[in-house]
Symmetry: C2
Subunit: 225 residues, 2 copies
């Protein structure tokens, strides 16, 4: 193999790796990955959830599919997208972690989006201990479909938009541990603010379903509260 051929095949290999990098190079695509990490969804549902034009969403999903990050399943007239594997979710999570650790803009953007929150958090280990002790109720504030696709065992499902109306479904004497999609999911922040405003004791889980699943903790599916 000549030197030229060799460097051409080398470029081809690195460009192939870069193709996966490119899939991570758009905020909108990362938003889609974030949603897909919660479970499979149709194109239309993804577009709505991410606030995208259908065509645009479809195009981004094609890019993700090209990179092998997602697979599709046809069901009648709908096409369901899902992550191609846990390693993809892992890559996504690590990207966010590295970005937060090394990129100055992230902590600021994070606080602006989530709201600066000096309130306490609970780690996964602490949550498990307190659930075992029975002195907390675990609340999942994601949309119902995501809860059904997989949730922390024993968690109650009340989507954050319904929380104000359904707050009386929660026991008054227990502290409420709230979680949603992951470390940067705003729903749990909003829910904790709402609950404490109403005089409840509420605390956020450190992160969310994404990290829970990646750490291989048990996950329940589909039984509604």
């Amino acid at each position: 193999m000549s030197e030229n051929t060799k460097s051409a095949t080398k470029a081809r290999l690195y460009d192939a790796f870069a193709a996966s990098g490119k899939a991570l190079a758009s905020g909108k695509r990362l938003e889609l990955l974030d949603l897909l990490a919660q479970g499979e969804r149709t194109v239309d549902a993804l577009a709505k959830a991410a606030g995208l034009n259908l065509t645009t969403a479809s195009a981004h999903l094609q890019t993700l599919k090209q990179a092998g990050f997602v697979t599709t399943r046809r069901e009648g007239v709908r096409i369901h997208y899902r992550l191609a594997g846990d390693d993809v979710a892992q890559l996504f999570a690590l990207l966010r972690k590295v970005a937060e650790a090394h990129q100055a803009a992230v902590p600021a953007a994070r606080d602006a989006y989530l709201g600066e929150d000096t309130a306490a958090e609970l780690s996964r280990a602490e949550l498990r201990a307190r659930v075992a002790a029975g002195d907390v109720v675990v609340l999942d504030v994601r949309p119902v479909e995501e809860y059904q696709a997989g949730h922390i065992p024993g968690a109650v499902s009340i989507p954050v938009e319904e929380l104000a109306d359904r707050i009386n479904e929660l026991p008054e004497d227990l502290e409420i541990v709230v979680y949603c999609r992951g470390e940067y999911c705003v729903l749990a922040y909003d829910a904790v603010r709402l609950l404490t405003d109403r005089g409840r004791r509420a605390i956020r889980l450190n992160d969310g379903m994404l990290e829970w699943r990646l750490s291989e903790l048990p996950v329940d599916a589909s039984n509604l509260t």
Copy 2:
């Protein structure tokens, strides 16, 4: 916070993550990261090693720096770039792993570059066992600077370009375990081919220095053979 403001700050956060993704979105930048994972280097050295125009290399390095993936250190007239942390190397390694697992083009590009190689490989654990048993010699075929920046304890350094001339420095009775930068580093493949052509028993380590370091195995620095 209005819904509009909220979705704007959300976009800002995801775009910040995407900025890190963009840093991974060019084959040339990945090549630079691959080199930097072996130790710090000057701009000029990186440009030469990656086959890039100096200006182009500098621009790519600025992009990596913007993403916080690398830091710089001035020493007289030279500027040394290095990875900002092991988490960056980890992200790089995971990107390659996910790409290989899910992207059809990668295995083909890999074989075209490295040469299809049905020959046996040794895992890190097996290598340690055989080193302890004393029946192998470990050979580092990377450039000397990289060896000096960190190598597997006990390894001998002979850069692959010098191997043909210096083959007699290797004991004839022991099997030779060859490694270089990482899983996709071509130097070890070339070296094994050269050694077996000359009648030596040679085998490749599974991966290379990158994975060795990330798995937190001991690393020696700077003492030449």
